[in-house]
């Protein structure tokens, strides 16, 4: 990491530590350089001064006549020649050093060409011996790396390096030590941020602020983990509940996709129309409604849904929940119960009326027959009385039918093969069917049911006749059966005119008929017989395409 905390500690500390060491080392070098330079200069200056003093003394002797000037000059010359690096320029311009004459042009310092650079410093000390017109020159060079300076300063340098090494090492170790727990903490936080599991990750057990931070963070993460686990648990439970109920639920969210539970998805997959209707629902619409019942056709069968709406007003985004339940089955049961009670009360009323009519009708009939025998009637009158008797018989027959319909019939159930009954009925009806150009199909399925034989024949006969009547221009009538679990269903379907929903609701009502010659009791009696044999009857019809009756009976004796 480029901007790691370690670097941020390390670099400034290194600078803080190293700069004083360098400064101290450099200052120490500089000061000893200066002192050495001054010392050397002072020594040379002292030497030159002493030569001058000596020349003055010799001059005095020359003046007192003790020695000649030549002797004095040669004595001084000797001393000058013994000093290394000392030049003398005599009055005539001759330049010599250590006894040898040198050309002035060869000496860069003499010509003023000697320059001082960063590492070397040059200077020329001069002294005039005025009495003879001589000039003494002592060029000097000082540098950091020559002469005795390195020797003198070796320990200073070494100590600088030495302390520098120690300081740098300590700084590195210190910055490492300081930043390591922070780095560990950062790595720990990064793991948390990435959602990795932090269980078993060790962070330092320190006692300082970082330690407090670490342990607090660890505690925090543990608490969070625990809560998360609890939330997860609750979430899972809720999901399980939501997905286990048979009620479909849809959460409509403003500006986002709706959320469906499993039951809703299943129902929507089975019923595309439902899916379409649900998909059209908006928040705005759900606000206006509370409860309603949807009904539409699903695969030619009418289905019912109880739908309720609830707006959730807690969050900023508007949401509403829609629950819906398939109530088709319940609805059918309700219809069946309703029909049965209606038929029962109708039957009661009809039988009461029939009973009351039957006795006077018997009197009328007997009286009419008596009068016919006693009175001598003309041929026309005789025909009229015969007609009267015929109508009385007809009324009597209706009454018998009504009484038969309303009276609980005794059933004598036995196990019988559906195919046998269907087969015999097909044979029986063949002639009539041929007349009406109806083709009878019997699909054998080898099923058995436990019902009253006569009742079953009557039921099927009524339904077959009903089907044939529904096909004035001929068609097909298919008889079949199938077994599901402990029930056997017999299907009688025709390719006739079909019915509208409104008609279908009434077909089992007594005296309801669409044919002029019908009594309207046939299907009512069928319904009665089916119910008395523990069966169920259902009808599906499409106008113009045909009708299908299904009657379901239990298979076993124990079902009774």
């Amino acid at each position: 990491m480029r901007h790691s905390i370690e670097r941020k500690i390390l670099v400034p500390f290194l600078i803080i530590v190293l700069i004083p060491i360098f400064i101290i080392g450099a200052v120490s070098m500089w000061s000893s350089y200066q002192s050495e330079k001054q010392l050397k200069q002072a020594t040379v200056q002292e030497h030159l001064t002493s030569l001058d003093r000596y020349a003055t003394k010799l001059e005095n002797r020359v003046n007192s006549g003790m020695i000649s000037e030549e002797e004095a000059k040669s004595l001084i010359k000797m001393m000058i020649n013994e000093t290394k690096g000392l030049y003398v320029e005599e009055a005539d311009g001759t330049l010599s050093t250590e006894g040898e004459v040198v050309q002035a042009s060869e000496l860069d310092w003499y010509n003023g060409e000697a320059k001082t650079s960063i590492f070397t410093e040059r200077t020329v000390l001069t002294k005039q011996i005025e009495q003879w017109g001589w000039t003494l020159y002592h060029p000097m060079t000082f540098s950091f790396y020559s002469g005795s300076l390195p020797n003198i300063q070796k320990y200073t340098l070494l100590i600088s390096i030495f302390t520098g090494v120690i300081a740098v090492q300590f700084t590195i170790i210190l910055s490492y030590h300081l930043s390591k727990p922070i780095k560990n903490l950062a790595a720990f936080c990064k793991k948390i941020a990435l959602g990795e599991r932090t269980n078993g990750v060790d962070i330092d057990n320190r006692k300082d602020e970082i330690g407090v931070l670490s342990s607090s963070l660890k505690d925090m993460v543990e608490t969070l983990d625990e809560r998360n686990a609890q939330i997860d648990k609750i979430k899972k439970l809720n999901e399980t509940i939501l997905n286990s109920v048979h009620v479909g639920m849809v959460l409509v969210i403003e500006g986002a996709d709706s959320v469906y539970n499993e039951a809703a998805q299943t129902m929507m997959n089975e019923d595309p129309l439902l899916k379409e209707r649900l998909g059209k629902l908006t928040i705005h619409e759900t606000k206006r409604r509370s409860e309603e019942i949807w009904d539409h056709k699903r695969k030619e069968e009418k289905v019912f849904y109880a739908v309720s709406y609830k707006v959730l007003g807690t969050s900023e985004k508007q949401r509403s929940i829609i629950t819906f339940e398939d109530i088709t089955h319940r609805r059918k049961l309700e219809q069946r119960v309703e029909r049965m009670s209606r038929l029962a009360s109708l039957g009661e009323m009809a039988s009461g009326i029939a009973h009351e009519i039957r006795n006077p009708l018997a009197g009328i009939k007997t009286t009419t027959e008596l009068l016919t025998r006693r009175l001598e009637l003309t041929k026309d009158q005789l025909i009229l009385t015969e007609n009267m008797l015929l109508d009385i018989d007809r009324v009597n027959k209706i009454i018998t039918n009504i009484l038969q319909f309303s009276r609980p019939m005794e059933t004598n159930p036995s196990l019988l093969k559906v195919d046998d009954t269907l087969h015999s009925l097909v044979l029986l009806m063949k002639t009539i069917a041929d007349d009406k150009k109806v083709v009878l199909h019997h699909i054998e399925n080898n099923t058995e049911i436990f019902v009253d034989r006569d009742h079953l024949r009557q039921i099927l006969l009524n339904l077959i006749l009903n089907g044939m009547n529904a096909m004035p221009d001929g068609g097909e009538l298919i008889l079949s059966s199938f077994q599901r679990d402990d029930d056997v269903t017999i299907l009688i379907s025709d390719t006739g005119v079909g019915m509208e929903d409104a008609v279908m609701e009434k077909i089992f009502d007594p005296f309801y008929t669409t044919r002029a010659e019908g009594t309207g009791l046939g299907l009512s009696i069928v319904h009665q017989l089916v119910v008395q044999n523990n069966g169920e009857i259902d009808v599906n019809s499409i106008k113009g395409k045909g009708t299908e009756f299904s009657i379901t009976f239990p298979i076993g004796r124990e079902e009774k």
């Binding site: 370690e6 790396y145 390195p150 020797n151 070796k154 320990y155 340098l157 070494l158 390096i161 030495f162 520098g164 090494v165 120690i166 740098v168 090492q169 590195i172 170790i173 490492y176 560990n184 060790d202 330092d204």
Partner: protein, 474 residues
Amino acid sequence: MDELLYLSVFLIYTIAILILGKHGFDKTDELKGYFLAGRNLPLFPSVASFCATWFSAASLLGLPGLIYEGGVSVIWTTAIAWLLGIIGLFFLASKLYTYNVVTVPEFFLVRYDSKFLQIWVGVILSVSYLLYVVIQIRGFGIVVSQMLDIPYTVSVFLIYLFVLYTTFGGLHSVARTDIFHFCLILFGSILGGVFIVKEIGGIRELATGLSTLDQSGSASYLALFPEGGLSFWALVSAFFSLGLGVAANPQYAVRILSSRSKQVALKMVGTSTVFLVLIYFSIFVIGIGSRVLDPNVPFTSTDEIYPFIIAYLLETPLKGVLLISVVAAAISTANSQLLIMATSFVYDITLPIRKKKALDLKVISWTRWMIFIFATFSLVIAFTPPQGIVQFSGHIWGIIAVSLFFPLYGGLYTNVNHRQALLSTFGGLITYILAFLLIPNALQPVYHPVLPSLIIAGILFFLKGRGRLNASFH
């Protein structure tokens, strides 16, 4: 002038070490990372680390001196004996790598299921490496005090700082600095040979000088075998103590374990052999060249000869590199030994005795403290060091050979149980001590204490019950 040059070279070296050593600090969160560099070292770092660890102050400082003094035949009891140990390392690499262990003593725990054996090996390593680190510190002290003309005590304290620093970062730091050290050792020794030959005036002059030496009395100098033939027992002694000492030495086993794969480990041993021969040849040239250059070097210990030649007889600005290569050899060996010493003490002695599991970070922290304590202890001993570097190291190699060779190699290649391994290591060591005390000092170079003790260790390892050989090789 020279001192300023040395100071500059030394300063550059210091900066390099500080930077390179820092690297390991960031990679030391877990034990495998700290002790074995995560068992993930590629070939070149492995080779560099292996070679840098191999060449100690004893090789780079003592060996030229011994050749100078004793002639060509010295190589039999030094370089060749050491190199023979490599054969053992080939066998070690092919088997040891498969063990998932953090330290070498832990191998004994895993293989023999004996905590006691682990602790015992830990003790042997801690003690013997302590002595060996002292030798390294001393080698450094001699060179640096010669180089910078400073007191020995001060220069010894400098190595202390370097070793401590490079070891703190674990094997990552050690391996990283070892790459630098290896380059210094390689170039230093080759340049040393080249400069000495150049100083003499070329190879022809060297040959002439050698023939002159031969005629001037020291007749045996150039002979491959010493006068009167090389004693068989001296050869066997050197091989047993140095060769087997190398083969059983955990500092090489650690390099095998830290390699990226078994193939890398085997390649490492093979490649390193080439470099080792090259460097030994250079040292050999340095030794005989020095003798030709000046047969009368004043010395009290052979260790001082090479530094003297560099300091006073060579005229090149690169001689700072030659001296720093000796420093590199000393530090690279010392830091890896210090690391093994501290890990052995913490991981193989303290933790098994403590019996409580500790966090990785805690163990690393303890190891750092032990590094500090052992380094300080070595420093204190190095102030008054034992005399004669190679002879002294011979005993350390010998002790390691007798106590570890059979349990280590036998553990890898036979089905011997922990009782025999324990008997072998104890029996070997006791015999060694007895032999050391009983054999007169003058005879020891020929009849080294390692001879009887290794035989005893071997017999105890393979013998069981009433003298039946029980081990079977697998």
